[in-house]
Symmetry: C2
Subunit: 312 residues, 2 copies
């Protein structure tokens, strides 16, 4: 990998970025929380402030850093508030999707990131409402009353997030997933499902981070390609981990896709085939960064490496 | 009422408005619908295109008409696309809330507008996903790629809808409602719950319609007061109908609040007391319109009358 990636201290960059992400999310969650609504805010905090990987906010900040570098602004560690809001808003959508996905009528899972799932801890109605409120909250975070995001950018971010989350994005992918249990999908159908279910939000993270800066159309198109390849690689690695890792490492129930007779990249391509596909997608992502013409894509490249090499 | 309301043909106005609302919603739902996602789009259509009263879109269009008249533009029947999108977006949020509310873990209701509820017809997972997708779709409709809504207005509309739908709006009200079964609320607590649960979206409908035009701050503040009073009046009438109407007229299960031991305006104030409170709120709404200084508030006033005199 060292031949591809420039020298970049991902650990230091991530630490600085994560510190801002965690502080911002805790602050923004606390800001609008009134005591009468603790029954709603408790499951919201539980599902959001739980030590997730924060890949989506990191991608938004890395994309902003790439674009910021391009337009001559800001050191990589100086993430602006717009990109922070964009990344954290995507994270809220991700968090709500996990809460609803885990419910008995969906995956009926009791373990998430090593803790009881939200409906186990707060009841099904509590989980349903917390998820619903989280989706709205994402759009609240994108439309602050202060001037931290210009109105035109707010509109672009809301447009992109709504489409990534909705019927032709994440929710659509989940609907296809639901309808695919026990069905033989070919790779094209599997790719379409995952490009919606997981890929749309990851791709949107990159695009929304970039939308907080200024970049030429060619760079934005390349970042879209990067996000699409990364999103798919993420899912292929997910499918690999589902059969190779244990529940303790994953922080969720391992082997559940196979148990549920769901089509996966591993069931379709075999373990070696899935690993080859992941490497191919990673190469496509890195190649898209080179095509972008942006100078400072090191954080994005490093995050792509992280997606490949993660163990959970 | 004729001493208060100017001569206004609500029936003709509503027919023109409803025709635009129904056409727009059917068109916009069809526009983004792909065959692979029919399992998601079928429950979405079922829940949205079902003959609801469309009070929220009507309020948005009436508010726009009031403001349009103020700034010298457009005949009342010539609703502009921004207000149509705003009203229909609120209607999607309303539709999703009904789908999720009816689910077994919430109100567990099997009848809605005289038809089986969405989870009865499409399964619980289908209802959950359709509701989730509807919420995102509301924000898609507010952020069209064409130039029918200026970007700054898109941002204002998204901001307002997100707050009306979220944890300090509708979802928050539902959480308080859930926590209030069997609890003795005083009128202040009941009012707070309903101002969030039902009132926030109705108030937002008026405010969002007005935001699609231009009006002085005083007029906007008066329209907020109108929306707040109307929203509360709506709920008081709902509570009255819950004990005075039958299920066939309501199109949903009558008497269910009393059966669920939920606090209502009728349980708190008695039937006559609730009727007096509704009249009082209606008078406050009409008075706010007079305070607005806007010339053409006839449609808003007529809709307030409709809220008072409805039988379902």
């Amino acid at each position: 990998m060292s031949a591809v990636l420039p020298a970049f201290d991902l650990r230091a960059w991530s630490q600085a970025a994560l510190s801002q992400v965690e502080s911002a999310m805790a602050l923004w969650l606390a800001e609008g929380a009134v005591p009468q609504l603790e029954s709603l805010n408790a499951p919201i905090r539980y599902s959001v402030l739980d030590g997730g990987k924060r890949l989506r906010p990191l991608l938004a900040l890395a994309a902003r850093a790439a674009v910021a570098a391009h337009d001559g602004k800001a050191a990589p560690a100086d993430f602006d508030t717009a990109a922070l809001r964009a990344g954290c808003a995507v994270e809220l959508i991700h968090a709500y999707s996990l809460v609803h996905d885990d419910m008995p009528c969906m995956d009926n899972d009791v373990l998430r990131r090593g803790k009881p799932t939200v409906h186990v801890k707060f009841g099904e109605a509590g989980a349903l409402l917390a998820g619903d409120a989280l989706q709205a909250l994402a759009f609240e975070w994108l439309t602050p009353a202060d001037d931290s995001i210009p109105a035109a950018t707010q509109a672009v971010l809301c447009a992109r997030l709504a489409r990534a989350a909705g019927r032709n994005g994440m929710a659509g992918g989940q609907a296809i997933d639901l309808a695919s249990v026990g069905v033989a999908l070919d790779e094209s159908a599997l790719r379409h499902m995952h490009s919606l279910k997981t890929g749309a939000l990851l791709q949107a993270s990159v695009a929304m981070g970039a939308a907080c800066g200024a970049a030429p159309a060619r760079a934005l198109a390349a970042l879209e390609s990067f996000g699409a390849a990364l999103g798919l690689a993420f899912q292929v690695v997910d499918d690999i981990l589902d059969v190779t890792a244990d529940s303790a490492t994953l922080g969720k129930t391992a082997g559940k896709d196979a148990a549920a007779d769901k089509p996966t990249y591993v069931s379709l391509l075999g373990l070696d085939g899935a690993r080859a596909r992941a490497r191919q997608l990673h190469a496509a992502a890195i190649s898209a960064l080179a095509d972008s013409g942006l100078g400072d894509t090191a954080a994005l490249a490093a995050l792509a490496g992280l997606v490949m090499n993660r163990d959970h």
